[in-house]
């Protein structure tokens, strides 16, 4: 086998690995991309109800209540302009609190209530998810110090 042939084999191997990877990436993207929306976006865009999305904003003060099964929590997420009701079954993360930023992942039910299957936890009480900060800036309610 000549040097040229060998190089050709390696090039082909590299090329086919890249092709396979590209196919995998594109097909996986289709089902794994989750878009982020603020409550205003959700109401304005009349989103399809079966697609999983992320919703972010502040947990409205006094809105958190627990259902009688002891596991389901309902609360309202707001960007200070629109409000979406969210329901979640499970244990809430430690830093979930009224008045704090939150990101939930799930889908919008036909009744307009957002069914969350995940409430994203944070590690730090001063951390604000960038999307939430942006959503608040857009609705003109941002009071943070970071520009």
């Amino acid at each position: 086998m000549t040097r040229k042939n060998r190089r050709l084999i390696f090039l082909l191997a590299g090329f086919s690995a890249l092709t396979i990877a590209a196919v995998l990436v594109l097909s996986a993207f289709e089902e794994s991309l989750v878009f982020f929306y603020s409550p205003t976006d959700v109401i304005a865009q009349e989103l399809r109800s079966d697609v999983p999305i992320r919703l972010g904003g502040l947990v409205e003060d006094g809105s958190v209540s627990r259902a009688s099964d002891g596991l389901t929590t309902t609360f309202q997420v707001t960007d200070m302009r629109e409000v979406i009701s969210v329901t979640y079954t499970g244990l809430l993360p430690d830093l979930f609190r009224e008045g704090q930023g939150v990101v939930v992942e799930g889908h919008l039910g036909t009744d307009g209530v957002f069914v969350a299957n995940e409430v994203l936890a944070k590690h730090d009480e001063t951390y604000m998810p960038p999307e939430v900060a942006d959503a608040l800036k857009k609705s003109g309610q941002w009071k943070g110090t970071v520009p």
Partner: protein, 670 residues
């Protein structure tokens, strides 16, 4: 106290500035000196590295002293510490924040520089000077960044009487040692990078170069493996979600350099043994360190939403981004310009040990690229749509791309070491692996009939782990000629075998154990979520968990609600699990402490949540088979790396290539 306090801070800052000066000298004079052949300037490299190390150590000690004596006149200490905090967390609090973690990063960088200065006497003097210069320039960038945007010694006047405390999630032994290991890994790859840049400037890569690069890479790789495993273990027991890997940007940031570093580790072998793949190895060294820097950028800039994210400052992100562009852009331009000068020798057929290692590199880098795309895509979309489209890439993306690419790699890992250099006999290698193949098939068949809820894919996963595990043992057996020569001869071969062989066997077996743990724990995990009142029992995987009740208990710097479960199996008492919800006052924060009963075969994992207001408590219980094997496997991998590192041939200042080749020849002849 106050008088002393500001002194600690002032000494620290002066030390940092002096270190900056030393790093600038170390980064420039030797570089110019080697170009124009000015001996005196070349000679500056070593004392400058020593000086830089001394002053960084001084700054680091001052910051640590500030934490130990709770000197709240230093803003960093006041923001992150508290007099009530246990001593271990006062010390680990030093790197539990942005500024302090940078000092740790620079300290490790200087430590590596110092070891080249001290132990590099067998390196060509110009190569050593250039390596030190590149290390100096990296240090300079980070020191400048620290002093201008993230000074840990900013003083408060008047100092507050008490500090704000450390984030309670970080007050944990697992996480106390997670950053130092991770940084030893990240920064350790800077050595490979500096050697790569120096080699590009020299226009030469020799086997001696690889003999230097490999131990550094290996040491960095071991630390990174331990660091990643510690982080994942911490997430498992501390966050209370029962998960151990979330494909989160912060996790990916450490995983990408690990993948590239693993590739580098393997390609450096080819440079060392066969004098081939030179320019590829140099490129890998650049990429690995670039990914480490990218990791630092992603974690520190807060541009991506991460479940592990801490509060961040975007201004710092811009500085790191600029540093990133200069380092990565500059080194790639240098590579494009100089790499064609690196002539590779060593002809080999695609079907050979070299070919196998190329396949390893190809798959690792492809996998790394898919992780990179998934991690950066949200950022990319955000930028091109001007912030209109915010998106996150979920774990399904990573499992659907990463795993299919890893499967052929794992199959190949067992075969590769059986191939000979230059030109190999694939059929012969496979026929010697027939035992591994038989075990792998047996696992599928037995699993199919005995495991009730096993999907075909999970059986394949188990079978793959068995293939790799037995394959690694078969390879070792072949090298020792077990069953083909007498016991005495085997024993002589056991002793004569280079340690790197045992290291490789251990690392590959560790990978098999980790794969086994991942497959078993994700395929056969069970979860129960319910409200329980005292006296009620929850059943999971044959265990009965009796909820005894909840009690208030106090800790050193928190108050805790502690639930008690009594675990029994078929009526016999086994253990007591006591998960807690801790409420800290400084800073005010709640943490969930899971109670875990780990055994070799499975973990029972219990978490207590909020009361339902009617005497019941939300509880969550998991049964996770073989989950600890994930971290045990990682420890075995890192252990394999350490064994390899102790190999005489890899020892810094190893004898020349010819010498040990002769010894190898003797071994083979025996």
């Amino acid at each position: 106290m106050e008088g002393n306090g500001s002194l600690i801070g002032e000494i620290g800052l002066y030390a940092l500035i002096l270190a900056l000066v030393f790093s600038l000298v170390q980064g420039t004079l030797p570089m110019v000196g080697t170009h124009y052949g000015v001996g005196a300037w070349i000679a500056v490299a070593r004392p400058a590295a020593l000086g830089q190390f001394i002053f960084i150590t001084l700054a680091f000690s001052m910051l640590m002293l500030g934490y130990i004596v709770s000197d709240f006149s230093i803003e960093n200490v006041a923001l992150n510490s508290h007099t009530d905090k246990p001593m271990l967390y006062k010390i680990s609090g030093v790197w539990g924040n942005h500024e302090g973690s940078l000092i740790l990063w620079i300290f490790i960088l200087a430590l590596f520089g110092l070891s080249v200065a001290l132990f590099g006497s067998n390196l060509p003097p110009t190569l050593r000077a250039r390596v030190l210069a590149v290390q100096g320039l990296i240090s300079f960038g980070f020191l400048l960044f620290t002093i201008t945007t993230s000074n840990p010694f900013t003083l408060l006047n008047p100092p507050p009487l008490q500090g704000l405390g450390l984030n309670p999630l970080l007050q944990d032994p697992g996480l106390a040692f997670h950053p130092p290991f991770l940084y030893l890994g990240y920064v350790g790859f800077s050595m490979a990078f500096s050697f790569a840049i120096a080699a590009l400037i020299e226009g030469r890569v020799e086997p001696a170069w690889a003999r230097w690069v490999r131990p550094w890479t290996l040491a960095a790789w071991c630390s990174l493996t331990v660091g990643i495993a510690l982080g994942s273990w911490w997430a498992y027991y501390e966050l209370g979600w029962g998960g151990w890997w979330f494909w989160d940007p912060v996790e990916n940031a450490s995983f990408m350099p690990w993948l590239a570093g693993t590739a580098l580790l393997h390609s450096a072998i080819v440079v060392e043994k066969r004098d081939a793949l030179k320019s590829w190895t140099v490129l890998l060294a650049i990429l690995t360190f670039s990914l480490s820097l990218l990791g630092a950028f992603l974690v520190r800039s807060g541009v991506l939403t991460s479940v592990h994210a801490f509060a961040t400052d975007p201004q710092r992100g811009v500085f790191i981004l600029a540093l990133l562009v200069i380092v990565i852009g500059g080194s790639l331009v240098l590579y494009a310009w100089r790499a064609p000068a690196l002539k590779s020798g060593g002809y080999f057929s695609p079907l050979s040990r070299e070919g196998g290692l190329i396949l390893n590199n190809l798959l690792l880098i492809t996998a790394c690229a898919t992780v990179l795309i998934g991690t950066l895509y949200p950022l990319f979309l955000d930028v091109i749509t001007g912030g209109e489209s915010k998106v996150s890439v979920g774990p399904p993306y990573f499992t659907n791309t990463f795993i299919p690419i890893m499967l052929p790699l794992v199959v190949a890992v067992a075969i590769g070491p059986m191939l000979s250099w230059k030109r190999a006999d694939l059929y012969g290698a496979l026929s010697r692996l027939r035992l591994a193949l038989a075990v792998a098939l047996l696992v599928v068949i037995i699993g199919w009939y005995t495991i009730e809820n096993g999907s075909f894919l999970s059986l394949c996963g188990l079978s793959l782990a068995a293939w790799l595990f037995v394959g690694a043992l078969v390879d070792l057996g072949e090298r020792l000629k077990i069953g083909r020569v007498g016991l005495g001869a085997v024993w002589r071969r056991v002793i004569a075998q280079p340690r790197a062989t045992y290291g490789m066997t251990a690392a590959h077996m560790g990978l098999a154990l980790t794969i086994f743990g991942i497959v078993a724990s994700t395929s056969w995990e069970t979860e129960r979520l319910q409200v329980m009142r005292p006296g009620q029992t929850a059943d999971i995987a044959g265990y009965a968990l009796l909820f005894v009740g909840v009690k208030d208990v106090g800790g050193p710097n928190y108050n805790s609600v502690r639930a008690t479960f009594e675990v029994s199996r078929e009526g016999a008492y086994i253990a007591t699990l006591q998960p807690e919800v801790r409420t800290f006052t400084d800073p005010p924060m709640q943490t969930t402490e899971a109670a875990i009963r780990p055994t070799i075969t499975a973990d029972l994992y219990a978490v207590v949540g909020d009361p339902d207001g009617q005497g019941g408590w939300a509880t969550r219980i998991y049964h996770k088979p073989f989950v600890h094997w994930i971290w045990f496997g990682a420890a075995v991998m890192a252990g394999g790396g350490l064994i390899s590192l102790s190999d005489k041939r890899l020892r810094v200042g190893a004898p020349g290539r010819r010498k040990f080749n002769r010894r190898r020849a003797k071994v083979t002849a025996a």
